[in-house]
């Protein structure tokens, strides 16, 4: 099944796109939905008494219902729109963390967190006198049960965990983490940015307290993120950003706030991206997560098998295939990843190189940076072959200069 035909960029650019972990390409269906929105529905929401504005509002609110169903939230009021996962996490750090943490409380995150689920907690911990503790990975690039149980303690109030690492592709056992954290009285924030494009998320089944993701990593437009939160927790929290549309009554010195979800959605929202996210969900559901998994399993197994044959590569991924998603980090021994990425680019192979917004993880692994190939439903075995061929070129260009390997 080659889904490339649904993605116009592949008609316009002759590229091997292996950077879906950064952002995915967009299918025609999503692009058309946005186009149609501006041509037929555009008006500001929650404002006008005229029917166009009411229709735009309905479109917007129906998308919220679609997202609630997509992740099996109990209520549409548990779905808050944000700019991206980063903003969702900042909202939680400020509106939940700052208000609930006290001196000597503990926040536990993993060493594989993206800076967006790490830097806000540093600030909140500094401001409240709480301690920021880390769960470290083992030699298989995974969090062991022992590590989880030794770091989450009776003093832990918040656990922040990425479902899938954006560097290692490790799928964390969030089921275990959530159950254990709840036993210890902590709430759990799941960063699903790298998992929701690839696997079914059911927030009630997981019993996650909060869950965040970005639309643009799952076929939707840029600039739209989602925060899911249990209603009873969101109700107790203060707003994060103040302004229009999030209020009930405003007096000269006092304001009362709107109920959920508007309380957390100040100002005019990114309506085009929200309807685009609705179209992306339709696209994913139309193909189905089972099919997506089947496509990705075949390509990623093929990629791992072929990358392992290149003895000049260091691979940073778990040997347990069932615990690995669709991101593969690697280095050519002795060659800096930026040079590798530039040579790959000359072969029109797009990979990311750098620290992937995960400097503490890089430091823990004893490296500066990696190249990262990340795959999605439109990739093919041919893409993997192109990657391998480009890596051979990079190695051959550099090999006579490489020392000490």
């Amino acid at each position: 099944m080659n889904l490339k035909k649904d993605f116009p960029i592949f008609k316009n650019r002759n590229i091997t796109y292996l950077d879906s972990g950064a952002t995915t390409q967009k299918p025609e269906q999503v692009i058309q939905t946005i186009d149609e929105f501006y041509k037929k529905y555009n008006a500001n929401i929650h404002r006008g008494a005229y029917s166009l504005s009411i229709e735009a509002t309905e479109y917007y609110e129906n998308t919220r219902v679609k997202i609630a169903n997509f992740i099996n939230a109990k209520s549409k009021d548990e779905i808050i729109f944000s700019k991206n996962a980063t903003e969702s996490l900042n909202l939680l750090a400020y509106s939940y963390g700052l208000e609930n943490l006290k001196k000597d409380d503990e926040v536990v995150i993993s060493i594989m967190e993206h800076h967006s689920n790490l830097v806000p907690w540093q600030k909140v911990c500094k401001n409240t006198g709480s301690k920021l503790n880390y769960m470290y990975i083992n030699k298989e690039f995974e969090l062991s049960d022992e590590e989880i149980e030794s770091k989450i303690t009776d003093r832990t109030k918040i656990v922040g965990i990425t479902h899938v690492s954006n560097v290692l592709g490790t799928i964390n056992n969030i089921d275990k983490i959530i159950k254990y954290a709840h036993k210890k009285g902590a709430i759990v924030i799941v960063d699903a940015s790298q998992s929701i494009p690839h696997m079914k998320i059911d927030v009630q089944d997981l019993n996650a307290d909060f869950l965040v993701f970005s639309g643009h990593k799952m076929l939707a437009p840029l600039g739209i993120g989602v925060l899911y939160g249990k209603k009873e927790l969101l109700n107790k929290m203060s707003p994060f950003i103040m302004g229009g549309d999030m209020i009930e009554y405003v007096y000269e010195q006092e304001t009362t706030f709107a109920p959920l979800p508007n309380k957390f959605e100040a100002g005019t929202q990114n309506i085009e991206a929200i309807v685009g996210l609705g179209a992306a969900i339709d696209y994913i559901e139309n193909i189905g997560y089972d099919k997506i998994k089947e496509i990705e399993d075949e390509i990623i197994s093929y990629a791992i098998e072929n990358l392992r044959k290149l003895d000049y590569l260091d691979l940073y991924l778990t040997p347990n295939r069932e615990n690995h998603s669709s991101v593969i980090s690697f280095n050519i021994k002795g060659i800096h990843p930026h040079d590798v990425a530039s040579i790959l680019d000359s072969e029109k192979v797009c990979v990311r190189s750098g620290n992937h917004c995960a400097q503490p993880l890089m430091r823990f692994l004893g490296i500066d940076s990696t190249c990262r190939a990340s795959f999605y439903l439109y990739n093919t075995k041919q893409d993997v072959d192109n990657l391998i061929k480009a890596l051979e070129k990079a190695y051959n260009m550099f090999k006579k200069y490489i020392k000490n390997i």
Binding site: I335, P337, M397, F398, I402
Partner: protein
Amino acid sequence: MEDLTEVYNELIMEHSMNSYNKKKLSNANFTSLGHNPNCGDEITLEVKLNGDIIEDMAFSGHGCAISQASTSVMIDTLKGKTIEEAKQIIKTFINMIKREITDEEELKKLEDAIAFQNVSNMPARVKCALLAWHTMEDIIEKKEKQGKGNIDCCH
């Protein structure tokens, strides 16, 4: 980039992988750290000045081939020059990478550093090529401030 060997040429490869300028100076009087936070490239530049003459230079650190080679070639180019000459060469190099100078005569003043001309065709790598040169600018600025400081205290 059509032909990558124009960027990853022999000179750049040799300097990046096996630079004789990668060492410590025992008598440096200026040191500065250059860092590209987005990519993690990090170099420490050491300079031994004798009056206005750059008597010796060395570097340590890590990064991609282009940043490492650019540092090493810069050292070869600037060693023995006066501060004023160095400032001119740095300006010419930066302008070459930004494609603001293409005049061959002008570029010849760069000596071996002209080997980086084609980096200007790779926008993603411009900052790698410029790291050392900006770091040297910092050192010159420090030196000039210090100079002024001395004059001030003589008043």
